[in-house]
């Protein structure tokens, strides 16, 4: 049976002098889950990870790992291990002794020790590097050593602090897949901190989006993309068009909206989040708007515009469209290169009502 509150944070706050880094936050993470903390720099995600590792103690609240409270335990007593952002490979000892470092207290024989080191180096595909020193390794190899050094301890939780940040794009994408596979094979809970939404989306079972010390949304990646709970999340994950909107009429079932410069529309209320403030926007992903020269018959709403820029990305093409009265250019993406539309051409944009999300 899967333990849903394998890691349990209750009312965690962390204050540094006057700055509130983490603001009374609750969080449950299941056993064997790949969980990401995603947010802009300074949102409190790293502080939260360091609270889990034991490098910071929360100002208020408690931390539980596997049903035992660890709130005031020092890092050396916790069942978690960490992969540091800069890897923190000890420069004065070789790879073998780096990986052995955490096993000293387990009183293993020399053979067992070697076996464990071999095993973990195999896990990260770095066999034969035992004698190397940190300065003889590339960034990607250091990263693997750091991973092996943490995993050899057989932790209940592996904490990863932006471990892929320093790698180049190609290697980063390879490591993403490798990390994900490793996590599936080992069944260990991974908590992964990143500011890169793509990274979080591709690897995680669930992602928590953080801002200003609070968690705004915890969802699987797909849901995060398709049903963002507010404006911040919708903008942070992927690209989005936000159209200013006014509520004209509202009753129990229906919502009548005026999308500024586009027109009035009626919606069923239960399609949307209940918590909406006055200041609302219609949110549309670039791929949810279709573009053609002629009128789009299948669309519920047609808007006229002028194409200002076209960016070709290979698998898709982005059109930046000026619509009369709307300040920002609308982003429209198309998977097929529509050669018939050029810059400065007039065009029609089509929107289907079912794609419309409301955020505030």
């Amino acid at each position: 049976m899967i333990n849903n509150d394998f890691i349990k944070l209750r009312n965690i706050s962390k204050r540094f002098n006057d700055v509130i880094a983490v603001d009374s936050l609750d969080l449950d993470i299941s056993e064997g889950e790949f969980f990401s903390l995603l947010g802009p720099s300074g949102c409190g995600k790293t502080t939260l990870l360091r609270i889990l590792a034991g490098f910071e103690y929360p100002t208020t609240g408690s931390v539980f790992i596997d049903n035992s409270e660890v709130t005031n335990q020092t890092p050396n007593l916790r069942p978690s291990n960490m992969v540091f952002q800069n890897y923190a490979i000890f420069p004065h000892i070789n790879v073998q002794r780096n990986i052995e470092f955490g096993l000293r207290k387990e009183n293993l024989s020399k053979e067992e020790l070697n076996l464990r080191v071999k095993e973990s180096l195999k896990m990260v595909q770095l066999e034969g590097y035992e004698e190397r020193f940190s300065n003889q390794l590339s960034g990607g190899q250091r990263q693997r050593v750091a991973l092996a050094r943490a995993l050899v301890k057989r932790p209940k939780v592996l904490l990863l602090d932006e471990p892929l940040g320093a790698l180049d794009k190609k290697l980063r994408e390879e490591m993403q897949i490798e990390l994900r596979n490793l996590q599936k094979d080992l069944g260990i809970t991974f908590i992964f901190v990143t500011h890169d939404q793509e990274e979080a989306m591709t690897m995680s079972d669930r992602v928590a989006v953080m801002n200003e010390g609070k968690i705004l949304q915890i969802s699987p990646p797909k849901e995060l993309y398709n049903k963002p709970v507010n404006k911040f999340v919708s903008e942070f994950i992927g690209n989005i068009n936000l159209l200013e909107t006014l509520i004209i009429d509202e009753n129990d079932k229906n919502l009548s909206l005026e999308i500024l410069n586009i027109g009035k529309q009626n919606f069923q209320k239960n399609n949307f989040n209940s918590k909406l403030s006055e200041n609302i926007f219609v949110a549309l992903r670039p791929e949810e708007i279709s573009i053609k020269k002629e009128k789009i018959e299948t669309a519920d709403i047609n808007i006229k515009g002028v194409v200002k820029n076209i960016s070709f990305y290979g698998e898709s093409t982005y059109f930046y469209v000026k619509v009369e009265g709307i300040k920002k250019l609308l982003m429209v993406s198309n998977f097929i290169d529509q050669v018939s539309i050029n810059e400065n051409d007039e065009c029609n944009l089509g929107i289907n009502l079912e794609d419309i999300k409301l955020v505030s």
Binding site: A53, P75, F101, N135
Partner: protein
């Protein structure tokens, strides 16, 4: 077009001559077969070195200096080690103030420290000698040690210590297995430099020694007798060579694994 400016070269040469001629006169006259330090040189001799070798009081003074130097350098390095750790790793209250307080002996004239020390020491009814000299040398050497160790400590990543804690070591294990080996070049540099500083120190030793002479005090006491001058020159020549060697060694250790952190950062 760039024209070579010879005046700077001339300045440079004069500067070094001015600095080092007096220093080089010492070894030269230490081989001169005469009691008087005047040109022209008379003849070459090892006599003064032999005479120096046979002075029992010199041996005693040398031994005293070594004792004081070794103990003072160990204690001041030890103190500086903890202070450096505190200043670089923890958010300490009044850290600016205490940092200044430790560095203060740098600025205060030695003679003032010496007078203050002798007043306190004797008013407590304690005897002058090697112990107060050692204590005052600790005070005097600690700032140097602190500066060396802080720069070393700043040079390595705090997350290495965190990684050690994370891998199950407590603070003592972390210090012994991570911090200490990484600081070792700095610690050795600090030991060597503070030993040399203590070994060469005159004013504090002059005020605080009674019958226990350190080497500089012994040399001072010999200068009153013209016939004893040559063997002091011989001694001086040896000290110059020895301390220069130690200081260079200390400098080498201090930069070990630091000038190029990607190369040879293991000790």
């Amino acid at each position: 077009m760039y024209r070579k400016n010879n005046s700077l070269l001339v300045y440079c040469i004069f500067y070094f001559l001015f600095l080092y001629i007096p220093v080089f006169l010492l070894p030269i006259f230490s081989f001169n077969d005469s009691f008087h330090m005047v040109f022209p040189l008379k003849g070459f001799t090892f006599d003064w070195y032999i005479e120096m070798w046979n002075k029992a009081r010199l041996h005693q003074a040398l031994w005293n200096s070594i004792k004081v130097g070794v103990i003072a350098s160990i204690i001041s390095t030890f103190i500086a080690l903890f202070a450096a750790k505190a200043f670089t790793r923890y958010r300490v209250k009044y850290s600016g103030l205490s940092y200044g307080a430790i560095l203060l002996p740098f600025i205060i004239p030695e003679i003032i420290i010496a007078v203050a020390f002798i007043v306190i020491w004797t008013s407590m009814g304690l005897r002058l000698g090697l112990i107060p000299i050692t204590i005052s040398h600790v005070l005097y050497c600690t700032p140097f040690c602190l500066l060396i160790l802080i720069s070393r400590m700043d040079g390595f990543d705090k997350s290495l210590e965190e990684a050690s804690m994370d891998l199950g070591e407590n603070i003592f294990g972390t210090f012994w297995r991570v911090t200490f080996p990484l600081l070792l070049p700095g610690i050795i540099a600090s030991l060597l430099l503070s030993f040399v500083i203590s070994f060469d120190e005159f004013i504090l030793a002059f005020f605080l020694s009674s019958s226990d002479q350190t080497l500089p005090i012994y040399m001072w006491s010999q200068l009153r007798f013209p016939k004893k001058l040559p063997h002091v020159l011989a001694l001086g020549a040896i000290i110059i060579v020895a301390t220069s060697f130690i200081v260079m060694l200390s400098y080498w250790f201090r930069n070990l694994g630091q000038s190029n952190s990607n190369k040879g950062s293991h000790i």
